[in-house]
Symmetry: C2
Subunit: 344 residues, 2 copies
DNA sequence: GAATATTTGATGTACGTAAATCAAAAACGC
DNA sequence: GCGTTTTTGATTTACGTACATCAAATATTC
């Protein structure tokens, strides 16, 4: 049987009320008595029954998700997952609100964080932008004991509790090895298509990709990066021009979210033999993978990221440890052979 | 605010006791009254507070894991994960026992299932062997309302509630595409190394692998399957003989758990240029991937499988729905570039 | 309509914790 | 020693559900 507060009280030779004072950091306990109780807790191996505690407190975890507004499929998918978590929230003692902010706008994001702060939640999950005003806003939240988790895009060097997202350098390296080995001896340069070098995850993917190409496939030339702003129309135009300029192109690594335009340009040009590695599984990229236009997809599972963020925020709010192995977001590598059925 | 049993009673115009009788399927309620209560439940959208219910019941979920004895790293890893779940069990109202059975022995497994049945648990997780006596034993458990989840290796056509493992056909197909594309125009046959064709996961991986090789890489010949019983010593002997017999071998797909012997044989023969795709991330296979002896690893995360099995068993024991998207076990594709740090 | 069986209500206790109140005891200053 | 402050104890209520008991009301049978 698991020990209860009563057992602690008996073991320490104090009353229930005193145990409660110690457990919940209430004032009015002598240092000596506090020690006695803590020794009893340690010796009996007491662990507070969080479910009973939450029941008694009538607690519900108020959480706020801050997401970039915009219509790219991945972010829409992320929003869908948050909404599904909201639908389940009754059963999980959570109360989740979403705040939308204009994409790529650090000041707007800092303001949203301040607004979230005002609402006094137990935790905040945010798709971060790597800027000082954002780091500051996060620090202010943390100073007030509000847990903060970055989602998809991290804010290293800030005081965030946790990052729920993939290792983007590893993702870029993986793309490099795949494209290098898939191409084998086939001649021709490789192009890189990004959204914007302003966002950290794109920069990191490029860094990983380049280092692998340099280390392991040094003879293959890499064309200058094309920035398509994740805009389908712009991407299509840029890729079409690229294909015309370089008829010998062997492969393309698309590390951003411009898949729709990329696929359109490739198919119009009839260049199915170009080896393409792209990111994020959406209905477009799935179709392109199945048709053979895209050869491999790297993906981060938005559902996992959202659920992980919620678990971590709840744990941090309770001062509980986090199961690191469970919360590591993995880089999915999809070929046409191992696509999950159903969704996305 | 979430409705409680009191709200249901008020809404239905009955007493708390009657609501309780309906909710817990206790006898002594007229059909008409039962309907009234059920309508109230539906109209208020009542969901039982499982944590409060468990608290009241003093419930702890007795679960039994049945694992194959043996010293292969993957199964040891699986055992480790179960033991870690046991360490966390205090906080999760679970009480987990492990039963070990000799590997690849259907009758012993059926006996273990009967033993598990005798102990009267809420659920059983089992690494299945696809044999009629096992299917029968599972059916008997289910007939007594005991939840059953197959782990790693499935038992389709049985009455198991859920399978916590990967899609092995997809895994085999993925291996096929990877080896086919990595080899490109390089000549030479491909060999397949399995543990035993008795277990379904090995059969399915082979099936997926063969079908992709046939569909997409028809010109490459596949040597007859070698069964190494996942025994390092035997595997090393068999692979050494294989390499001697076929000096022109271009690739090996190891779909079982005999990696230690495979790597030893390859390294002793100095055949690093052979393209090798193997399964399961262990300390041995990790080292071999980093050194280049293995080119890619397909992996199922044992920790995820164990945690998923536990979640599903608890949910089934409570008659609760399962979040399918969360419980899908993914096929990890590891190259040396995206190996997770830490463990395994 | 009486006797019986079935259904329903009323009520209390329990689970493990939180939180509040008030009284009692101990420690402290002077 | 006194009064005062601080610390501790004892007790109660609450959270939402499960489960048991006993009495009361309603159906059913003959």
């Amino acid at each position: 049987m698991r020990p209860t507060v009563h057992d602690i009280a008996a073991e320490a030779g104090v009353s229930l009320a005193t145990v409660d004072r110690v457990l919940n950091n209430r004032p009015g306990v002598r240092e000596l008595t506090r020690d006695k109780v803590e020794r009893a807790i340690a010796s009996l191996g007491y662990v507070r029954d969080v479910t009973a505690a939450n029941l008694a407190k009538g607690r519900s975890y108020k959480l706020i998700f801050i997401l970039p507004a915009g219509d790219n499929s991945f972010m829409l998918g992320l929003e869908t997952e948050v909404r599904e978590a909201i639908a389940r929230s009754a059963a999980e003692r959570t109360e989740i609100d979403i705040l939308f902010v204009p994409a790529f706008d650090p000041q707007a994001l800092a303001n949203a964080l301040a607004e979230a702060h005002r609402r006094g939640p137990a935790g905040v999950a945010v798709v971060a932008i790597d800027a000082p005003e954002v780091t500051d806003a996060v620090r202010r939240l943390r100073d007030d004991g509000i847990a903060v988790v970055t989602l998809v895009s991290d804010l290293p060097g800030s005081s965030r509790d946790h990052f729920a997202g993939i290792d983007n350098i590893a993702a870029g390296r993986t793309a490099g090895t795949l494209i290098g080995r898939f191409l084998g001896d086939r001649a021709g340069p490789v192009a890189v298509l990004a959204g914007s070098m302003l966002v950290r995850d794109h920069r990191e993917r490029l860094e990983g990709f380049r280092s692998v190409m340099c280390e392991s496939f040094g003879s293959r030339s890499i064309l200058p990066v094309i920035e398509g702003q994740d805009d389908p129309v712009l991407v299509e135009k840029l890729v079409a021009a690229l294909l015309e300029r370089h008829p010998d192109i062997a492969g393309i690594y698309s590390l951003g979210a411009g898949n729709r335009g990329l696929v359109a340009a490739l198919e119009k040009a009839g260049r199915a033999q170009v080896c393409v590695i792209a990111h994020e599984l959406t209905s477009y990229s799935r179709a392109a993978l199945l048709s053979g236009t895209i050869d491999a997809l790297l993906n981060q599972d938005a559902g996992h990221e959202v659920r992980s963020a919620i678990r971590v925020l709840k744990a941090k709010a309770d001062g509980l440890p986090v199961l690191e192995a469970q919360e590591r977001i993995r880089i999915d590598v999809f070929l046409k052979d191992n696509l999950p059925n159903g969704q996305a």
